[in-house]
Subunit: 255 residues, 2 copies
């Protein structure tokens, strides 16, 4: 007999402010991801397994991959949105979380799947997830995980455009390294000026490989692509001192 699980969902209401939006007046991708992480932190807190609990184990969650799908335009400044999350699956080392975003009309405009690992904050290495951290979810561990899709495999060559960024104090969060969402600013900033005004993001795959430490010179690189095509995918990497720290594929539709 198959046992059915009821996955614990968490829903967070939020009113978008002007500073959550980009120059087009819509929720920015980096703020969307930050709000999703905030929702998962609130869910953990509500179950007693938040930051305070993980810090007792000297560990914390680290994002490895995101896969996102967007369904129409993102909500606007002032709009009341709902951010939802649940744990899709987990095993001894990884947790896959599903996130979604509803606009003011209740339409689901974005879904994001994220894979996280549990990291020993001193050794900066993966460590097994303690049972106490997962128990309140009342969800069984699984062997196979529904992994987010990876960015396309690409090789950087001379034709790629690049832009350099010195990390700013405001990029650093209270963990002492660059907040993950800031990578998205660098990734998107490598696109042609004004690109977001006439292109709509329809999907993305984003892979984090290494953290960016304070005082780093970051290079954001984008492969050549046809910005005039009706649909296209832009390929991106972020490097520090020639080493790739993150890569991404963004799918676009001309508007």
């Amino acid at each position: 007999m198959e046992e059915k699980e009821t996955l614990k969902e968490y829903r967070m209401n939020y009113q978008l402010a002007y500073f959550d939006c980009d120059y087009t007046g819509h929720l920015s991708l980096e703020m969307m991801l930050m709000l999703m992480i905030l929702a998962s932190e609130k869910q953990n807190d509500s179950l007693g397994t938040g930051m305070k609990a993980t810090q007792k184990f000297g560990a914390g969650w680290v994002i490895l991959d995101y896969e996102g799908h967007l369904n129409g335009e993102l909500p606007r400044d002032g709009e009341n949105i709902t951010v939802g999350c649940k744990i899709a699956a987990y095993n001894r080392f990884f947790v896959v979380r599903d996130f979604w975003l509803e606009n003011a009309a209740g339409k689901q405009v974005a879904t994001v799947r994220g894979m996280f690992t549990f990291m020993d904050l001193k050794k900066r290495k993966m460590t097994p997830i303690p049972e106490a951290i997962m128990a309140p979810y009342e969800q069984k561990a699984t062997i196979r995980l529904p992994r987010p899709k990876s960015p396309d495999k690409v090789e950087v060559d001379d034709r790629w455009q690049s832009k350099d960024y010195q990390t700013r104090y405001a990029d650093i969060d209270s963990n002492g390294h660059v907040n993950n969402a800031r990578y998205v600013e660098w990734l998107l900033d490598a696109l042609p000026a004004g690109f977001l005004a006439d292109h709509r993001l329809t999907g993305f795959r984003l892979n984090y490989r290494h953290e960016v430490r304070p005082h780093s010179l970051v290079t954001s690189m984008v492969a050549p692509f046809d910005a005039d095509a009706d649909e296209m995918t832009s390929q991106h990497v972020i490097q520090v001192a020639g080493q790739t720290h993150a890569s991404a594929s963004f799918d676009w539709q001309k508007i």
Copy 2:
């Protein structure tokens, strides 16, 4: 007989998220200013004189000066705060707004006075404030305005340290120019690395002279000062192509 006015106050409750805080885990100065502006926009909206109303006149509010006083440490990630605002005074061209911030315990931890002008968005020039915009405040115009104090008069010389910033797409707001709060990131980023960890801001005076347009190379400069003193004031300017766009004096206490 003197007529007494009851100034209309507006109070906004807000729970701080991790992305509102800097690397010390406290509300960042730039987010504090953005939340104060948000509160004043909400107050305007509640009186029917928000962005939609000012846009009918082809105009909008522009910040000229801030003077701030901090009373102890700023609230932390997760804390429930209250942001208040009211109009201190106004005349035909300028509005002076008072802002304050209460921490979760109800203690007033910051007061900020800001002077704003009304700008024709096409001509990028000051324009008289329409009566219809101020009428709902039921407050009389005054001749003399309680102006925020200016930054100290300083001359940039060779001993000043400077850092360059290429504006990022994420610095640009839906008005098409760099959001005012981003200047604060550049100003504070010119301080020595880790400075915010062992110094507490006790006051600031900030003057905006010119907007920063997209694709600008911004230089943030700071005068030499004794970072080991118990109390000190740092002097800052922001330049674009050798022209000063903003200046600031920040008062610090060693902690």
